[in-house]
Symmetry: C2
DNA sequence: TATTAGCACTCTTAAAAGCCGAGTGCTAAT
DNA sequence: ATTAGCACTCGGCTTTTAAGAGTGCTAATA
């Protein structure tokens, strides 16, 4: 059977209506609603076809039709091509002074959740490829040193280490100079054994301290990786959608959403796919969802990038009947904003 | 009417049973369950009395009784006196290397939620009275300086500031020395205008930089205050309690729990009361709860202290029929662990 | 006098029955 | 190819019914 223009129109009308109401939509509704002047009987015939083709489903005889996952997929693919703008008020909020990436992400999650009325998640940046920008060693106690590590993108990590040896002021200064001249500009991967042993050699007496410091640098990265920095917001928005908010489902869903590991899995999965590499936006509908326990939902994901190689993932999670247009619009918009903001900062 | 020993026994039995089952408990149950050998009829009479005295309630005629808030209160006060130990496996988890307070708190919330099967919240430390321990200025770009602030308790804050003037290496060194000699050991409040103007004077040429740095120091504190650092975990545990998990209530509750401001209000309230100043543990039951939207719950709060003046609040939120014994035990235990850990570190 | 047995009564909850209406599928007419 | 019309289906809602748990009261008992 052919999916001709009229069928497409009707299918779109069905999905759109369903997105709004959340109720199965019947032939009469479409007959009145859509601009093509057809009787409900005709619509019924078409709907029958559409059902046979797998785009819509009847939850039970004598109910209207609801979109199948395939139907949603069709719809999403359609508007993916069409949409591209729509300016939201995210702009103003972005202007606010943000000095820590963490804060920015938290805020972004909140904005997204508030704007879309769905749940939002944002993974913190994973910065494997990042260059070390700066190391600073300072004494805070007799035998405690503060190690501050700054990597490209101005991500700052602190750690306090116990050293068993006394380190004089001058020695400390030298260590700082040594560390910075040797390591700055290198990526994490580039700091290999060769570099390290050379470093220790030069450090002479205090090679032990160097070792501790390097541990901290590595640790800072490592911790960050396994720490699953994922910010979420608006989880309770799901209560706005009856089909998700009955006890059983809500419980499972919220629990899933609370488990950062699971979200991490989702993000990993998403990053492997990357099939719409243009914008990096992907949509998973229902059973397409890689994560068990969210099979009643859809998720729209996007990759963001803050400056050099600092990239992470955003996800909007909502019911299958989520307003894809709006979500896609909002996301694209946010991406633009981020781009602008960080281009500007870079240009400064 | 007198609350004699037998009434107390019966009351306790009722509450205990109710805590386990979550269902109204009838006279027959108690008659069989409790060790005092009485017929259900007698129990009924006593229950009637207890109801009249306000300790228990009949949700409707011909249902069993459930504890009133007053009843819970009685019960809690009883075991408050009794309990004091019970070692959990929190210990092991605490041993894990924790260098950032933030991480520790997150982990604590998780442990508490997992251990109790209720929701847990922990407020970050509020450190008004804290002494500045150390300031470090470093250059990261031509015109950008990194300001690292360490306060007592090894809380570290970073900020990057733009300076419009070039600052040479030597000048930077001098500024560092100046800042540290002038400010170290002072509390935030002690850094007043007098100190500041003296400082600027000494800084001479770079008084502008000093100003920026001080702004950052202040900002670091301020941000922290309004940033509402509250960590939560186990919100979805409420689905384990049918009386909380019906759509309406669950939604309201979880939303409340998601709003950090509200939780902050709760904590503020708690801190004003402080009536059991011994352990700082307080229990709010039902309508005693300062926060609207959690009136169907109870919350057990405690104050923790990490080292000098670094104090915050912990809350366990669950149904009114929460296992007070366990929660109180767990909390006290955690307090001890914290004390031990930080005493030890201090002694090191 | 305190306790207990017994019984009628109440009220909730669960299941069953019945009704309503939206929506379909099919047929016949246009 | 489209439409009108009609019988039929089936989920959701309300009402009814039944069952069960628990009480309160009274009268018997120790």
């Amino acid at each position: 059977m052919e999916l001709d223009a009229r069928k497409v129109t009707i299918l779109k009308a069905i999905i759109k209506t369903y997105l709004e109401t959340g109720e199965p939509v019947g032939s009469r509704t479409i007959s009145k609603y859509s601009d093509l002047q057809l009787s409900s009987a005709t619509i019924r015939n078409e709907m029958s076809d559409l059902e046979e083709m797998g785009y819509i489903i009847q939850p039970h005889t004598s109910a209207g039709r609801i979109p199948s996952d395939k139907g949603y997929r069709f719809y999403v693919d359609q508007i993916m091509e069409e949409k591209d703008q729509e300016v939201t008020e995210i702009k103003e909020l972005m202007v606010q002074r943000v000095d820590r990436v963490e804060l920015l992400l938290k805020k972004m999650a909140q904005i997204l959740a508030a704007n879309t009325n769905y749940a939002a998640m944002i993974s913190g940046p994973q910065y494997h490829q990042n260059k070390l920008k700066f190391i600073q060693l300072s004494r805070v106690d007799e035998r405690k040193l503060l190690v501050v590590t700054v990597v490209e993108g101005n991500i700052i990590k602190n750690a306090i280490i116990d050293v068993n040896e006394a380190v004089g002021d001058e020695e400390l200064l030298n260590l700082n100079i040594l560390l910075n001249t040797s390591l700055n500009g290198l990526t994490i991967e580039e700091i290999n054994l060769g570099v390290i042993s050379r470093l220790k050699e030069k450090a002479g007496l205090h090679s032990h301290v160097v070792e501790l410091v390097l541990n901290e640098v590595a640790e800072a990265i490592r911790v960050d990786e396994e720490e699953l920095e994922i910010y979420t917001s608006g989880a309770t928005n799901i209560f706005k959608y009856p089909e998700l908010s009955d006890g059983e489902k809500a419980s499972k869903l919220l629990s899933t959403f609370e488990q950062k590991e699971v979200l991490q899995d989702l993000i990993d999965e998403v990053n492997q796919n990357e099939h719409d590499s243009d914008t990096g936006i992907q949509v998973y509908i229902g059973d397409e969802m890689p994560v068990q326990g969210m099979r009643d939902c859809s998720v729209v994901t996007a990759n963001y990038e803050l400056g050099e190689g600092l990239r992470g993932t955003i996800g909007i999670i909502g019911p299958k009947r989520m307003d894809y247009e709006k979500v896609l619009g909002t996301l694209k918009n946010l991406m633009n904003q981020l781009d602008m903001t960080f281009k500007k900062e870079k240009g400064d």
